[in-house]
Chain length 247, copies 2
């Protein structure tokens, strides 16, 4: 399945039409796919996307679209959580990012989606046909710049994620991940971990066992407390930030 993607990637990346990307469209939001981001802010009262397409509730663990599918729409997460990932031919998976309320995906200039999108929890999704988005961009020049801003935000997050994947240790990766989740929630001490350990692992370039062991160590060191229901308490934010080693 990713054979096509591989070929496309090897050939020059010149693609006509829309590219597949993920980005946050909440004004002032910032990060989306790769890292964590804002999403806490109330949506723009003058939300230019309001009313476009239509919203639908999806159950947990369902596929929204797959790598290689024809890309006809863009999506915006209204509530819940979505994971985006790419797979290698042999099944190894890399989760590009987790999306939350306000984040967009599928916005792109390619004929096909370049990653798979699945719900983690039950999720409300606004689906916007590309034609409608195009029309909006034509009608409101400022909107195109907003998209550009959101996309560059994504790119920044992606670059931070490269640092994490390429140069951080397991402990640093996990600490960074937890802090990002918290920051995204406005710095709350208690954060939500709706995704499973293997999702976290595939996002951080680790295995479930290593994630689990690392969390246990953080727990033993009194840096975090693991609560029931997939919740988690950041007990010592400063120590976690030290551990995270920047970003």
């Amino acid at each position: 399945m990713s054979t096509h993607a591989a070929i496309a990637a090897h050939a020059n990346r010149a693609v006509p039409g829309y590219l597949v990307s993920a980005l946050a469209m909440t004004p002032n939001s910032g990060m989306g796919a790769s890292g964590m981001g804002a999403a806490i802010q109330p949506r723009n009262p003058a939300d230019p996307l309001a009313g476009l397409g239509h919203a639908k509730v999806h159950e947990r663990e369902t596929t929204l679209f797959s790598e290689g599918d024809a890309a006809g729409s863009v999506f915006r997460v209204m509530s819940g959580m979505v994971r985006l990932y790419k797979m290698l031919p042999d099944g190894r998976r890399q989760i590009i990012g987790f999306l939350q309320a306000g984040d967009m995906m599928g916005l792109a200039f390619a004929a096909q989606y370049l990653y798979t999108a699945e719900t983690v929890t039950a999720t409300t999704i606004q689906r916007i046909p590309r034609l409608e988005l195009d029309a909006l961009m034509d009608a409101q020049p400022a909107f195109a710049r907003k998209l550009l801003s959101a996309t560059t935000s994504e790119l920044m997050a992606a670059q931070d994620q490269m640092v994490l994947l390429g140069r951080k240790t397991a402990a640093e990766k996990v600490a960074t991940f937890l802090l990002r989740l918290s920051d995204r929630r406005g710095g709350e001490q208690t954060i939500d971990l709706p995704m499973g350990r293997s999702d976290i692992a595939d996002h951080l370039g680790l295995t479930t066992e290593t994630v689990s062991r690392t969390l246990t160590k953080l727990k033993s060191s009194r840096l975090i407390r693991i609560l029931v229901g997939g919740k988690l308490d950041l007990l010592d934010r400063d120590a976690l930030a030290d551990l995270a080693g920047g970003f």
Copy 2:
């Protein structure tokens, strides 16, 4: 130095003004920062950036700007090669990407550059004040979309790089890297490696020793041939593609 960046990253990613990103602005180009990209195509005869700012030749191994510097201009590589990287507080480095002719950097909505840019070889760089770019975006709505397209291309490349960093073995990483370089050159069998082993290592999340050993193994297996002057021959493209494992 990266303290500021760290804080900025932890705080909500909402930033007014331009973000710092890298992208290819050659029409039909595609990849830039993270991966390899086009750059082979002749520049658009109707290059909207032509004549903006002014070009300058920089010697090899010089810094163009650093992470945290005030971001007043965007840059376009006309010839030569540039590396972009981020550093962790303790000095570990992740090279975000190598830029070649046609690629842009510094295009962004942030007050500061988020990574450091250095020349690898002697390089001609077009420096364009942000104000001029803004004016161009206002004057030519189509140009904003071109920037959006280029940025989403970057994002795609960044996502491929995440897969590489998070889920590939050393051999797969090196093979992928070589194939990307070749593809960027239009699929040439002989490619140029102007950057040092440690640059490659810091791009692939490895050490110089591992890069060297891996290249030696590829040489022993007759998949590549190492030539003088930083050049390299891809002897068995198919075998390399198998090794690369997609992308």
